[in-house]
């Protein structure tokens, strides 16, 4: 090998490195905060219902069956894109859908639900945002899949699409059901 090729090889190496960087960042969102909570028990919480703040519901009430916790807010633009998908495909998931109203004025949230419909089985409200911090929520919409024993199995950041339901959520829910049947 001629030594003249050496600088060229160095150049190819740098090019490969940069190419890998571009490819990697196309497939991964560098802004996405990885959740260290996946595979760990969901935080214990007890939150008032949006409709009736005198009643509270929490992790102990939800234990025993898997559920999907969907973080939403009336101030969140992307939630408005996600909402019709939950309305049309929410029932198809076959598990309890828990709405987690995040740092929202109760009146705004109620108006939002009245206007666009309610895809949730139950809606809890976290106005101070403390429980959201325990869940590692960075914004809305975010979605957590919690299994029957209360362990977080999966987290999805950004609006749910039909594709996400088909490729990410439904297989994982089927897996949970298979495990429960055993």
């Amino acid at each position: 090998m001629s030594p003249r090729l050496l600088p060229f090889l160095g150049f190819v190496l740098v090019l490969a490195l940069l190419g890998f960087g571009i490819r990697w960042s196309q497939r991964h969102d560098p802004r996405e905060v990885p959740s260290p909570l996946i595979g760990k028990p969901a935080p214990q919480f007890s939150l008032p219902l949006l409709d009736d703040p005198s009643k509270k519901i929490g992790s102990t009430d939800l234990a025993g069956q898997p559920y999907l916790l969907n973080v939403f807010a009336s101030w969140c633009f992307a939630c408005r894109d996600e909402h019709p998908i939950l309305m049309s495909d929410g029932k198809r998931l076959g598990i309890k859908l828990v709405g987690f109203n995040y740092k929202d004025e109760p009146d705004d949230a109620k108006r939002w639900i009245a206007q666009f419909g309610n895809p949730y089985d139950v809606i809890v409200a976290d106005f101070p945002g403390n429980v959201a911090i325990d869940f590692g929520v960075t914004g809305a919409p975010e979605t957590f899949l919690v299994d029957a024993s209360g362990v977080i199995r999966y987290k999805y950041i950004s609006p749910i699409t039909p594709e996400v339901i088909a490729t990410e959520l439904l297989p994982r829910i089927a897996e949970l059901r298979k495990q429960a049947a055993r």
Binding site: P3, P7, V33, I133
Partner: protein, 166 residues
């Protein structure tokens, strides 16, 4: 609102504001700007705790505006996290305990100074490796040239032959 009368009067008198006056005004602007750091007034025990709080929140990343620290960010989540950091400080937690509490929820992403671990060793030692590789290349090139130079000096006094090697 504070009205800056001094420069106004000076200009009305037909004189431009003198340099000391301009310097004074500039310094005053910076002093006022430094108060803007206290986004939400927190009842600190003493000044030392306030300094500790500001030093700690500067090392933490806001998870919404990710190029800002928790100390600087106006995002509602950053305000909530500042409140939690403050409460934990009041409860006597150390900086390391507070960081552990945050990383349990938001992973190392929340730290501007990532710890040395399996996934970050390249980040820590990558520059040193590149530096060593560069040094090795230079070493090889210099050695080769010194080997070539005596031969070429027999042919011609100029070092152009050695440079042609590349």
């Amino acid at each position: 609102m504070i009205r800056l009368r001094l420069p106004m009067n000076a200009s009305r008198a037909g004189r431009r504001p003198s340099l000391p006056v301009l310097v004074l005004v500039t310094i005053l602007c910076f002093i006022v700007a430094s108060f803007a750091f206290a986004i939400d007034p927190l009842p600190f025990k003493d000044h030392a705790q306030e300094l500790r709080f500001q030093a700690l929140t500067k090392q933490l990343r806001c998870l919404v505006c990710q190029n800002e620290s928790l100390a600087d960010s106006n995002a509602p989540l950053a305000a909530d996290l500042r409140r939690d950091v403050f409460q934990q400080m009041q409860a006597g937690k150390t900086d390391d305990e507070i960081k552990a509490w945050l990383t349990a929820r938001y992973s190392d992403f929340v730290l501007y100074d990532p710890p040395l671990s399996g996934g970050t060793w390249l980040l820590w030692f990558g520059p040193a490796i590149v530096l060593l590789a560069g040094a090795a290349v230079i070493l090889v090139v210099v050695r080769r040239r010194t080997r070539v130079a005596p031969q070429s000096s027999n042919v011609t006094r100029s070092a152009s032959a050695a440079e042609d090697d590349w």
